[in-house]
Structure formats: C-alpha cells, structure tokens
C-alpha cells in the first residue's frame, strides 16, 4: 500500500508540472495545446544537457548532485522556453489561431525530441542516464530513518518537492499579488486590462514562457526520476501531456487543487502496475477513469455555471488592440 501511494505521489510530479504550466498559460487567456510537445521538449533539453555534463566531467560515475540537477533543470527550461517562445510569437505577436499553433507545436516538439533522443542514443550519450537518474531521484537524506512517514513523505527526488513548492507559490502569486491580479485581468478581459495600462502582450509572453518552462520540467522529471532514465521511456510523455491539460479542467484552474488532482491522476496512472497481470480487462477499465472523471468535472462546471470555477473568459481568443 505504501509502495503504491509512494509511486502515485512520485508520478504526480509529472502531472503537476504540466498542469501548473498550462494553468499559468491559460490564465493569460491562451489555451496552449502544445504542452505535450513542450513536455517532450523538456525531455530532450534535459537529457541533452545531462549527457553533455556527464560527458564533460572527469568521473561520470560520481557527478556532483547539485550541478547535475541544476544543469538538467536548466536544459529542460531552455528547451521549454524555446518551444513556448515559438508559440508565444505566433499567437501573441502574429495573432494566429491558438488551437492550431498548439497542435503544430505538439507535432514539432515530439519530432524534435525524438530526433535529439535518437542522436543521443547513436552517439552513446545516453549511457550515463541511469547514473544520472539515481542522483536526480535521490531521496532526502533522513528518509530511511523515519519508517513509513519517511517513505511516504520524504523519499522522493528534489524535483517532486520543487513541483509542490511551485504549485504553492503559483497559487499565492495568482491569488494574492498584483502581478497575479494583472495576469488574471489579461486573461479575463484584455481590452479592459489594456485600458488601465497593463502591458497585455508582456504579460502574455511572460505567462506563456513561464508556463512552458515549468511544463518542460515535467517531461524531464518523467524520464530522469519516474522511470529512472530507461531506454525509450520518453514516449508516454506526450500522452501524459494531454492528461495534464485535462487535469487543468479537473482542478478548476486552481494551482492548490492541482497538487491533490495530480496525486489522484498519479494514482490512477500507476494503479495498473499494482494489479495482478491476469486482469487486463480491469486494467483497461481503470485507464478510462482519469478521462471520464475529467469529462464529468468539465460538464458539471459548465452546467452549474458558477462564476468562480469558469475558465478565463477570453481563453482561446487573441487580443488585437484595434479590434472593437
């Protein structure tokens, strides 16, 4: 049981990063369907930088924990921001259709990632991944001495705690600060925001780039921590990315709820590993649950029509100042 919960929480970090990234983006009024591609991009960027780092140090079996983590995170963020930048340029500056640009970005991101991962494999760059993964997934030092409590709460790699911290911070920033207020205003009614002097485009760019960087960490985490740097393990990332978009609706655009929602999705995602293999039908049935649950939430949100739980009012619409 503890094993299962542990796995669910570990898995939840992937969803949390993706979901947070998408929440921040959607708060600025942009529905970024490129998140799956961006998460893939995070895999590519993170893995590329890790393998470069591991190749550059004299003793690849014992890298420095802090540096390795930082290099990986930085690589993922750069890749995410690069892809997010393409999306932001096309949708904010060039005012192109958001759905289409997002889908194109997913196509491009998935291709881009596979190209990089394959070339890493061909050049032998991925031989260090399992070593790197043990470092990146290293639990907190005192986890083992605290019994079940330690196992359940302290046994994860740094990135899991980073995800939770980011969720909390995002929640506070969106709810309590001026920046968050402005961002929400931009997402709800950009014309009004513009009229009171908020730099709409700057906020949109900022939100999309931040969101994409955070989402990219999800992909990096999935490969380097959750599946321990396994061969070809980056392929499910795209599907996870779509789930992360679903999760945004499921959590009603609230970062604080995304922590719980991610854990629930994490549990549903991993539960099939803990069911005896004999019942494939049951496995298939369980795989329905996250999607059906999301649909139910989506429907109940729109049927209830309560003001507090609606998506940002101008979600999916581009803002052009000279439009009436």
């Amino acid at each position: 049981m503890i094993m299962f919960l542990q796995n669910a929480i570990r898995c939840s970090a992937t969803f949390m990063f993706g979901c947070l990234g998408e929440i921040i983006t959607e708060k600025s009024g942009h529905l970024n369907l490129g998140i799956p591609g961006i998460m893939c991009g995070g895999v590519a960027g993170g893995c590329l930088s890790v393998s470069l780092y591991m190749g550059a140090i004299p003793d690849p079996a014992h890298p420095s924990y802090i540096l390795l983590l930082l290099v990986g995170i930085l690589g993922a963020i750069i890749a995410g921001a690069f892809l997010g930048g393409i999306y932001a340029f096309l949708t904010v500056s060039l005012k192109c259709n958001q759905n289409i640009t997002g889908l194109a970005l997913t196509t491009f991101g998935a291709g881009f990632t596979e190209v990089i991962m394959k070339s890493l494999e061909a050049s032998g760059g991925r031989q260090h991944f399992s070593v790197a993964a043990t470092y990146i997934a290293k639990p907190l030092p005192f986890a083992e001495s605290l019994g079940w409590f330690g196992e359940l709460f302290l046994s994860y790699g740094m990135l899991v705690y980073l995800a939770i911290a980011l969720a909390v911070v995002t929640g506070i920033v969106l709810k309590k600060t001026r920046t968050g207020l402005h961002l929400r205003a931009v997402g709800e009614n950009p014309a009004a925001a513009d009229a009171v002097g908020i730099k709409v485009d700057a906020y949109k760019y900022g939100a999309i780039l931040t969101g994409s960087s955070i989402a990219a960490l999800g992909g990096f985490f999935y490969v380097m921590d959750f599946v321990q740097g396994l061969y070809n393990s980056y392929q499910p990332v795209e599907a996870v990315g779509w789930l992360a978009i679903a999760l945004v609706i499921f959590t009603l655009w609230r970062p604080s709820l995304s922590i719980l929602g991610s854990m629930l999705f994490g549990a549903l995602y991993t539960v099939s590993n803990f069911i005896p293999i004999s019942s494939q039908v049951a496995n298939a049935l369980i795989s329905f649950v996250p999607y059906v649950a999301t649909v139910i939430v989506l429907l109940s949100v729109s049927i209830m029509g309560s003001k507090n739980v609606q998506p940002p009012a101008s979600l999916g619409l581009n803002y052009f100042r000279e439009d009436r």
């Binding site: 529905l31 369907l33 393409i86 096309l90 060039l94 005012k95 192109c96 259709n97 759905n99 289409i100 640009t101 889908l103 194109a104 970005l105 997913t106 196509t107 491009f108 991101g109 998935a110 291709g111 881009f112 990632t113 596979e114 190209v115 394959k118 070339s119 494999e121 061909a122 599907a239 779509w242 789930l243 978009i245 679903a246 609706i249 293999i277 494939q280 039908v281 496995n283 298939a284 049935l285 795989s287 329905f288 999607y291 059906v292 999301t294 649909v295 989506l298 429907l299 729109s302 049927i303 029509g305 998506p311 999916g316 052009f320 000279e322 439009d323």
Partner: protein, 370 residues
C-alpha cells in the same frame, strides 16, 4: 515651464488589419511559405546528416513519392483519407465548433467495424456484414461527436477540451476491446484473429476504394457547404450566433446536426482504415495515428475552403510519403524528421495567416517636441 519636452515614443512599426486580399496574392504567399519551409526543413536535415544538401533533399522527397506506382497509389490513398477527415471537420470548423475529436471518432468507427467483423463475419452474408459495418461505424462515429455537441448546445461546455477527452476515452475503448478479444496475455491483435469473410471488397487494387470514397465525401461536402441550406445555416451560426437566432435558425439544432454529419464521416473513415486497408483496428489505428489532428491542421490551413484543403492535404500526404526516402538517402537514424519538417511547415503556414490578415507599416517619424 517653457522647457517641457514630451518625447513621444513611437513603436518602430505599426500593425493594422488589412482588407480582403486578392486570391492570387494569397496563393503566392502560401506557395512561398511552403517553399521556404521545405527549404528550411531541407537545411536542417542536411545539417543533421553529412550525406545531403537541400537540393538532394527536394530530389529525395520527390523520389519518395513518385519512384514507383505503388508509392503514388499509397500517397493518393493517404491523401484521400486525409481529405475525408478534413471534410468531416470542415462543417464543424465553419461553425466555429472546435472538433478536436477526429481521432476518437475515427477510432470508434474503426472499432465498430471490427466488432461487426468479428461477431458477424462468416455468420451472415458478406454483403450484409459490410453494410452493417458501414452503418454501425457511421452511427458510433456520430455518437462520439454528438455528445460534446449536445453539451455545447445546451450548457456551452468547452468543446475543444471535451472532444479532446473523447479521443482518449475512445483509445481506452480500443484497449478494452483488445483485452477482451485477444486471449492469453498478449495485447496485440493480429490479422489472422479476424475472420476473412465480411471485409470490405477490393475494388481495382487495394487503394482504389478508399480513393473513390474520399472523392465522394469531398464532392458531398463541397456541395453541402456551398449550395445547400444546411451548409449555409452552419456558416451563419459560425459567423454570429445572434444573427442566426434573429433570422430564425435554430442554433442548437444546427450544432447537433452538423456534428452528427461530422462524426459520421469520421466513423466511415475509421471503417476504411480498419476494415479496408489493414483489417484491424489496432494496426489501422497505429498507421492512421493522429489523422484527426493532421486534418485539423489541413482544414485550418485550407482556410475552411474545400479546394484549398485539398491542396493542403496533398502537401501533407506528399511530405509524409516522401520523408522516408529522404531519411534513407540521408542515412538518418530516426523517422521522426518527418514530424519535424511537417511541424516547421505548419509554423510557416500558420504565420502566413498573419501576413494575410494584417499589414505592417513602418511608422513615420513624428515631431519629438510639442
């Protein structure tokens, strides 16, 4: 305060909306964009491999499609499938209903066809099996599309997210189907587990039937959107729901009706993919992967105009067919370059829509003092 100076900061350029552009100018912009994108893709591929340069990239691309009769047929079939799905999405998009669920509707149609094949193949006459498969796949596809449409019409539920979720639910249905049908632990549905009798007939060669159906769907949708009342109504709903209301169009009914048509065509494509070409929902779905998404791109890039959609589909089918040859000639290790190049082309063409809708003018220097 006589030395008060207000420096007016003028942005370097100014963006404003353009009037409708002339047709040939639009076409020229798109053609240039496609070439620029292909050139860019070619340069990237050449950088990734020591074997080629951008010119051989074009040559390989052409060779991949036109080197043999079979590849031409295959490209035509792929194009026909893509056109069919795009035509299915077209009315929904014209109505500004973002049906991102093409994948799911295709899957469910294919699944229905396979279920018919397994339960009825060999039991009743072949003709009846095929007929029932066609009906079943169209109905299931329509159901898959109409559920989000009903909730959109009644409660204004966000359709892009709903249809997206329906894709995954459909995928789960296929997994469940395979888990039930395939006994003995393996999760792979092989061709000989399906009965031979009751499959789609082979007309001419194995590709021709798909191409004919694709052409029929194209013809139907061309007429429907251009000359029929239903097509006109959905265009009005897409432009302005209020206008539609005032002239007495039943908006909810139009949304639901349109999505039934959209889903039914997708379901039919599912049948074509599974029961005609590959005879197997798992294999068919693997090879038709993402057709729903690709069709979204082609429909949008084609600007919701059947003829330009046709051109966009031809382009995508051409690149998808040509890229394996490029990969072979350039000795590249991964087949994902195709995705990369297609993605780049999408970006270029998407960016074009900006040039067509807006114009950029350099702002004139104004007086700095006042």
């Amino acid at each position: 305060m006589d030395n008060l100076k207000t420096v007016i900061r003028e942005p370097l350029f100014h963006v404003s909306k353009r009037d409708e552009m002339v047709g040939w100018k639009k076409a020229l912009i798109y053609v240039i964009a496609v070439f620029a994108a292909l050139l860019f893709g070619g340069i990237i591929c050449s950088l990734a491999s020591p074997k080629g340069n951008p010119i051989t990239f074009f040559v390989s691309l052409f060779e991949g499609v036109f080197s043999s009769q079979r590849t031409i047929w295959e490209a035509l079939r792929d194009m026909a499938l893509l056109v069919s799905v795009s035509m299915a999405l077209l009315p929904a998009f014209k109505m500004k209903f973002w049906n991102l669920g093409g994948n799911g509707q295709i899957l469910m149609g294919g699944l229905a066809a396979n279920v018919c094949l397994i339960t009825l193949g060999g039991v009743i006459g072949d003709f009846w099996v095929v007929l029932l498969s066609v009906v079943a796949s169209m109905i299931i596809g329509a159901i898959w599309a109409v559920i989000p449409a009903i909730f959109k019409a009644l409660f204004n539920a966000n359709e892009s997210l709903f249809t997206l979720m329906m894709n995954y639910i459909a995928q789960c249905c296929v997994t469940l189907f395979i888990a039930i049908v395939v006994k003995g632990g393996s999760s792979v549905l092989t061709d000989d587990q399906l009965p031979q009798s009751g499959r789609l007939p082979i007309v001419g060669n194995q590709f021709l039937l798909t191409i004919i159906v694709g052409a029929l769907i194209f013809g139907f949708m061309f007429i429907y959107t251009k000359y029929m009342k239903g097509g006109y109504e959905l265009a009005v709903v897409g432009d302005s729901q209020n206008t539609a209301k005032y002239v007495g169009i039943k908006v909810k009914g139009v949304i639901i009706r349109t999505l039934i048509i959209s889903g039914a065509i997708c379901g039919l494509v599912g049948l074509l993919v599974t029961s005609g070409n590959y005879a197997n929902v798992a294999v068919g779905v693997g090879s038709a992967k993402n057709m729903g998404f690709t069709a979204i791109m082609t429909t949008w890039l084609g600007n919701c105009n059947p003829l330009t959609i046709l051109a966009a589909c031809a382009l995508v089918a051409f690149i998808n067919k040509g890229m394996p040859q490029v990969r072979m000639d350039f000795k590249m290790t991964s087949d994902s370059f195709s995705n990369l190049v297609v993605g780049i082309i999408y970006f270029f063409i998407i960016a074009c829509s900006f040039l067509i809708q807006y114009k950029i003018s350099l702002s004139k220097k104004k007086k700095e003092e006042r």
